[in-house]
């Protein structure tokens, strides 16, 4: 079975994963039969509009950076998992989308990074609200896990993981010390 990094548990770990990622067409889905599937956002929307009966426990979506998902946000918030695609690890749009999903819209489910997901970006991704990481297939996932284990203890600015910037903590520490 396929493996991913689960960053929601402490300490983060490599775990087996049952979700099937569907990149393209409906045909792929039929092959998966009853599996839990991560559908492309646009396909998911079309299926819903067509009245398809989607199993709420076995249906997730993945977003590309271009997808405008705002109109569907209520349905998205009910999903158990949302994945965000990184077509290239240098394309940073996914960080902002993750941050917005977590903080602006309050998505509470599993937020997964897919695509060109590499060890050296995991710390930033985790800060922006990602909780699982589908590391690029040709990379050693056990090695990649170190990207979450050797993070920074100091975080100047707030993000999805902790909205409070360091300056407010410095202030509290000072008050506590007085």
């Amino acid at each position: 079975m396929k493996k991913i990094i689960n960053g929601q548990i402490q300490p983060p770990a490599v775990v087996e994963d049952h979700w099937k990622l569907v990149r393209g067409s409906l045909a792929e889905i039929s092959n998966h039969g009853q599996s839990a599937t991560i559908l492309p956002f646009s396909l998911w929307r079309e299926l819903r509009q067509a009245g398809a009966q989607l199993d709420p426990d076995k249906t997730a979506i993945w977003l590309s950076a271009e997808d405008d998902f705002r109109d569907e946000i209520d349905a998205i918030l009910a999903l158990p998992l949302v994945a965000i695609d990184f077509p290239d690890f240098r394309d940073g749009r996914g960080y902002s989308i993750a941050y917005l999903l977590r903080t602006r819209y309050g998505f509470k489910g599993e937020l997964r990074a897919i695509g060109d997901v590499l060890r050296d970006q995991l710390f930033y991704m985790h800060r922006c609200g990602f909780t699982s990481f589908d590391v690029r297939a040709d990379k050693d996932i056990a090695e990649a896990l170190k990207g979450l284990q050797t993070g920074f203890s100091v975080r100047y600015q707030g993000s999805a993981d902790d909205p409070v910037p360091l300056f407010r903590k410095r202030q509290e520490a000072e008050l506590a010390g007085e």
């Binding site: 240098r90 940073g92 960080y95 050296d120």
Partner: protein, 555 residues
């Protein structure tokens, strides 16, 4: 100066260890060149023509004597004894070995220095006025805000892979000395009618291939919202900036594509969600940071408040060009020129010069040194009575050239002698021009005249904002130089106009002479170049430059 506490120090240490591991993994082949590239860039490591280059941050241009000595040591131990001070508050070492960079970073960390985000598609170092906190025309000291923004930008998880680099400049003075409108974001700080600190926010400025003057997008942003408002700008940029073409990826292109109204609407609507959130700055934090920059200068008695009488013509000339008023009477701000003429590249300091500057700063101005974007060194808050001594000390170190703001105070990039992306060599041309202007009386008589020279379109030396701008371009494997005239930095920024077809390297210095000759023949009294140019236009210059088929076909 802002002093790093345990938080700041730990972050830098952890960053060194992270990079050390990345270098090892790259050497073992676990990280491809492609994957390693943005990691090393965001640690200031470039791969240049002959070697690797390390770009060290001098956050908002301020460093201590101790830090300056550390830079001298780095140049001695790991480089060839030279540091190149850039136009954006950084220093570059051009001859380092990649495998040594973790050691260098560890050494720098001992002195609270680092290379974080000195390159890459992220928020870069914040630039401010070299005279921040000491200029006579300053309303608000930008340094506390520059430090707060530095912290906000440092390892900001959301903004490490932007479409392109993002540059922020701050100024609190009447005169814009930081190119507010040639940055991605520029904040002009001032007091509103109720005496509160607010900022005019400019966005979408930039030089490079497509030079654009930044637009005003907010007239009076309260200081508490600086971080949240800039977050909104960078988030909009990160989501919607172009990623398909690196030359169209800066925020200036997004602003143009959306139009100013839509651009501002996007930012304002994003900001509404953030403005009163946890990123809102607090009075306590502002005071904590501002206190680090407060320097209490002892009052100078009336007797000592002036420079002792001195008839040394050379010194007086230096005082006229290189010394500016301090906001406290009896003190002055001194600029040491790194451009004495042929023999030294603009912005370069040899290790013993760095050490000497560190000594003088300790002796005369509490151990604080600033680097200006014109690549010179500023010592702020020098007692008037010490000026002569300082000048005498600086002379044998070739740091007393009296040419600030003059034609020989050339801003220049390192050019293809070092830089990997350059098209043309800069330094030999700088020297060729400086040699033609070696008569000091003549140069001083010319008055304020900016000459800026770039080896490529990237425009690190801001040639588009110079009276005389020179841009190196490559055509069929040959170096050509395009001349622009009439550019202006400051409060009324203006892009220079291309004068005509590009010239060959050996024609450039002579052409500069011709330009100056045209200026002199039309000059009224002691008019500065910019005013003469404004009055007579480009035609007369064009005629003089191309009169005897000097031009070429490589336009």
């Amino acid at each position: 100066m802002y002093l790093y506490d345990d938080y700041d120090k730990s972050l830098i240490r952890q960053r060194v260890e992270q990079f050390r591991d990345q270098v090892v993994r790259h050497q073992r082949g676990e990280l491809s060149d492609e994957q390693f590239l943005p990691l090393r860039l965001q640690n200031g490591v470039y791969h240049q023509r002959h070697s690797h280059m390390l770009r060290v941050a001098i956050p908002y241009g301020t460093l201590s004597s101790r830090q300056m000595r550390a830079l001298a040591e780095v140049s001695e131990q790991w480089d060839r004894g030279v540091g190149h001070f850039t136009t954006r508050h950084n220093v570059q070492f051009n001859w380092v070995r990649l495998e040594d960079t973790p050691e260098i970073l560890a050494y720098l960390a001992d002195f609270d220095m680092h290379t974080i985000q000195t390159s890459g598609n992220c928020v870069r170092g914040i630039t401010i006025d070299a005279l921040a906190g000491v200029a006579a025309d300053e309303a608000v000291d930008p340094r506390p805000f520059a430090e707060l923004l530095r912290q906000w930008a440092t390892l900001n998880p959301e903004f490490a892979f932007l479409p392109r680099k993002f540059k922020i400049a701050l100024s609190g003075a009447e005169e814009d000395r930081v190119l507010l409108r040639s940055n991605d974001v520029g904040l002009q700080l001032y007091h509103n009618a109720s005496g509160e600190i607010v900022a005019r926010v400019f966005a979408g400025g930039g030089l490079g291939r497509t030079p654009i003057i930044g637009r005003l997008i907010c007239d009076a942003l309260p200081w508490q919202h600086f971080l949240s408002y800039i977050t909104a700008i960078v988030r909009v940029f990160n989501r919607y900036g172009r990623r398909d073409n690196k030359y169209k990826a800066r925020i200036k292109i997004l602003l143009q594509a959306l139009g100013i109204e839509n651009f501002v609407r996007e930012i304002e609507s994003e900001w509404q969600h953030l403005k009163d959130g946890p990123a809102k700055l607090t009075e306590t934090e502002y005071r904590r940071v501002a206190a680090c920059f407060a320097t209490a200068l002892p009052p100078v008695s009336a007797d000592d408040a002036t420079t002792p009488l001195c008839h040394d013509k050379e010194f007086l000339r230096w005082k006229k060009r290189n010394v500016r008023p301090h906001k406290i009477d009896g003190y002055a701000n001194v600029t040491l020129s790194t451009k004495p003429g042929p023999g030294a590249a603009p912005g370069d300091l040899i290790s013993f010069q760095m050490q000497a500057i560190a000594d003088w700063a300790e002796r005369f101005c509490r151990g604080e040194i600033r680097i200006s974007h014109e690549q010179n060194v500023v010592l702020a808050g020098i007692r008037q009575e010490d000026l002569y001594t300082l000048w005498s000390l600086a002379k044998p170190f070739a740091l007393a050239a009296s040419n600030i703001g003059l034609i020989t105070d050339i801003m220049a990039c390192p050019g293809t002698d070092f830089c990997g992306i350059g098209n043309a060599r800069s330094i030999p041309l700088v020297h060729a021009i400086q040699s033609r202007f070696d008569d000091l009386d003549y140069v001083h008589d010319l008055g304020d005249l900016t000459l800026k020279l770039n080896g490529c379109m990237n425009a690190c030396a801001h040639h588009q904002l110079a009276d005389i701008g020179i841009l190196g371009v490559e055509k069929n494997g040959e170096e050509w130089f395009q001349i622009t005239l009439g550019g202006e930095a400051g409060n009324r920024p203006k892009l220079g106009k291309v004068v005509g077809a590009a010239l060959k390297a050996d024609q450039v210095a002579e052409t500069v002479e011709k330009i100056v000759a045209v200026f002199l023949s039309h000059r009224r009294e002691s008019e500065v170049f910019a005013d003469t140019f404004e009055r007579i236009g480009i035609a007369a210059f064009k005629a003089a430059i191309y009169s005897n088929k000097n031009g070429s076909s490589a336009s």
